[in-house]
Symmetry: C2
Subunit: 574 residues, 2 copies
Amino acid sequence: MEFRLWAPNAEHVRVVIDGHEHAMTAEQHGWWRADVPAQAGSAYQFRLDDGEPLPDPRSPHQPDGVTGPSQLIDHAAFPWTDSRWQAPPLAGGVIYELHVGAFTPAGTFDAAVERLDHLTDLGVTHVELMPLAQFSGRRNWGYDGVYPYAPHNAYGGPLALKRLVDACHARGLAVLLDVVYNHLGPEGNRLSRFGPYFTDRHKTVWGDTANLENPGSDHVRRFFIDNALMWIRDYHLDGLRVDAVHAFADNSARPFLEQLADQVHALAGPLNRHVLIIAESDLNDPRVVQCPDTGGCGFDAQWADDLHHALHALVTGERTGYYADFGRLADLAKALQNPFVYDGRYSAHRGRTHGRPPGSLSGHRFVVCLQNHDQIGNRDQGRRISHLADLGRVKAAAALILTSPYVPLIFQGEEWAATTPFAYFCDFQDPDLARDVRHGRKDEFASFGWSPDAVPDPQADQTFQNSKLHWDEPAREPHASMLQWYRQLIRLRRATPSLSDGRRDNVRARFDEDQRWLIMQRGPIAVACNFDQTTQQLSLDGHSQPLLQSDPAIRIDDGLVRLPPASVAVLRRS
Amino acid sequence: MEFRLWAPNAEHVRVVIDGHEHAMTAEQHGWWRADVPAQAGSAYQFRLDDGEPLPDPRSPHQPDGVTGPSQLIDHAAFPWTDSRWQAPPLAGGVIYELHVGAFTPAGTFDAAVERLDHLTDLGVTHVELMPLAQFSGRRNWGYDGVYPYAPHNAYGGPLALKRLVDACHARGLAVLLDVVYNHLGPEGNRLSRFGPYFTDRHKTVWGDTANLENPGSDHVRRFFIDNALMWIRDYHLDGLRVDAVHAFADNSARPFLEQLADQVHALAGPLNRHVLIIAESDLNDPRVVQCPDTGGCGFDAQWADDLHHALHALVTGERTGYYADFGRLADLAKALQNPFVYDGRYSAHRGRTHGRPPGSLSGHRFVVCLQNHDQIGNRDQGRRISHLADLGRVKAAAALILTSPYVPLIFQGEEWAATTPFAYFCDFQDPDLARDVRHGRKDEFASFGWSPDAVPDPQADQTFQNSKLHWDEPAREPHASMLQWYRQLIRLRRATPSLSDGRRDNVRARFDEDQRWLIMQRGPIAVACNFDQTTQQLSLDGHSQPLLQSDPAIRIDDGLVRLPPASVAVLRRS
């Protein structure tokens, strides 16, 4: 078996396999190589210049966690059953974001398989897994991973992940994975022992960022791009969601993000499968998804948060933190037509002009949500919007998301207004680091005006346990009604071409800022929302028939709709 | 008169005019305003929260240097004589870079006027002034300026600069100015007392960089953009050369560089004048000059160093520092057709892949040189290429630059192979800073393998004096011959459409790596260069007649050219 390692500063390198040491040969550009007998299941490490044995930066499996040896994997050995699999298009799709540890009580890949029928019943098309890279400890959101190639051991490791993906494909569900390439976690990260993976020339909130433009950066880029390709090739994933692309520091003529998207897309042909690459971006910059010929990075889609913020501020009345920039129905109306409310407009929260107009880009290039892991978890007590506002308003907001021209994303449990929070949790072993994380969360929350007491202890196992879904809830009210509402909306969206065509140019929104109602029209479909505490009677464009209504007291008659407080009706022009 | 100041953190602000204090009124976004009687010539300062009086960040004149008060200027009062002025196009032009302090013995704007006839005789079209912003001390290259709006007092200040520009225009010379927006100098910089002009989130070799994307950055951008507009509007400059655009840290959706170029170009219409914006860029990235619709910054042109490096390494034999990436005739041949030898190729010096192909961009979008202030000054003893190689080879290199498809730039004195060096000089007042600068230069030189003794003391006045041109030289040999060579080449370039058409697609270069000759063909013009120590006999494409030859022993006959060692002939196909 061939072992390769990039260690440009080492004088000599050995690979240690099941306790036996083998010298490696230096090749060009800091690479080392050895051909040594070994088989899947063998434990191995590398020794640089007689130092302590270290796991492989590209370790495919860390069965004993971040400090133990790496384990060899034979990717060819898995009995895949998805040979005819083709992912459904993202256009017209609905994404379901889940955290493997908190999705089920057991918190494993195999336990998640047991709940897939819930997702197919719900009608979503794409499952998006929060990051899986091996992190320190038993529980973590995933953004502190340090072995990007190794599916976390506590979730079940490589084989179990393949079983989950195969099971999803068997049910017609595509699988996306959240990957973190702008930094690695603070604990168990030994990459700097091997080479210049990171630079301190730019600071991120998470510390040193990946070296994408300094000496050695070709190999650092290769490290992350090969990781992306591995997930798609060896784990049959249908696409990636790249975390926080705004945090990359890269002035190079050929930006890493463009190179990454290009190489991920280049796999589609040889594999004869669709592959997606989606960015999380805070930049409100259409160039993330524009093609390289027009100066873009060539991503298929990017997250766009402004519709979330507009809805959240309106529904909850909150105006702290970034919600200070939102709250008016005019913001919501704009967000339904333009993924960037801030498209070159001054943002008081940011203290600067923000964003750029998205031009004629399709709505399919933007992923929107009413809730996601960040919006729920990065706030007091990890509270969902259904813990903050009455369910009628939440239903109205969900209806707008699921009839919008964008690609909707749902966060696990949102579909039944789960009682469980989703708080930030981690399991760092170093007490100093644990203390820093605790304090850091409290400081972050203070900036939103939340009390430090509103921060569940991120290190406590109980915080993790509390964040797990309760699977008995969906059968009970009011959860059953909410689940039915989401099912109906998703079914309507998928069955109605004018809802899933991605067109933004024909979205019309009428609203009254004082009376707090809004009617969005998309082709023949209208969504009439009353966010107010009073009943409103609104005129419709011609005769309409009701498709869905959140409240039995809604009346549609003679071109008028009568909406009780906090209610919504979805209508079709007849 | 209206005084305005951005001081977002101040509680109260006063403007002090000729010793009298006047309270300012707070306006939106951290701005302060006062309408107070004052006239041109008044000394003024600002007091924030009862602190010491400080010069205006936008001071138009610092008659007593960086620490003294600012002085009011009436820009409308200058008797301009250039009302019908239109700058010649950069396409087909030749730029002459000069340092006002070292161009003449007196080192002033007015003394420079006395030498303009030399430039018109030489035939250049654009004068490019090294930075003029008020810096600390009497002498400096200009990259340590701290009052970007104030032409340096020791050069003569605002009025004298206007006289120089007006005199240039009277002679048909356009004037470009080098401006530094990525950092300010280390001494006398009080901008951070006023507001968040800088960020430490990104490091440059010069320290903190301009805040272009954090809170308050709209006003910081305005500070620099208004400066650019001032030079063009109030000083009648024809364009700007923006220093080191690779050092900007700006991930925003609307990059500062794009905004700057856009607003500079927007002045052209109202002023009814051509205005240029040129970037110094180390990125080998065509997007600097591409239009924003294709993801570019929209600059008119950018500096491209690879042709310099290819020529310098070939002519001098040097291979240290960045010259390690060059030296082959193949590099030179590529550089004559492609401004980026490194256009996505691995650079050993940088330890990574560098650059991006320039596509079909015109040669007019790239400024090239055989020498500039950096290439001469950032090396042992500030030595020019004519101090390092025999003049025959230098003439060959100059011929290639001045017949290339790009926009050529000449550095003061290059045209007569001046004996004077151009070393780095400064005049910092703080002894600690002075010591750091001395040591920093020695460390930088060590990376090129030059002895620390090869660094002239940057703080010594003698280093500055030694760098001044000797105007008696051009009348003597070998300087007179070199000057004649440059005059002839420039005249030929400007008179020959096929040399100044910017076409890169019809550049052909034949060469022999071992015998060290190269023939470049551009339409009917051929440039045959022998860089070797032996005589070479080369075949030409058909019959040719000589236009210029560096050596009387050159023979052209029957489709052959016989080139003695280190010689060059420029030929026209007959």
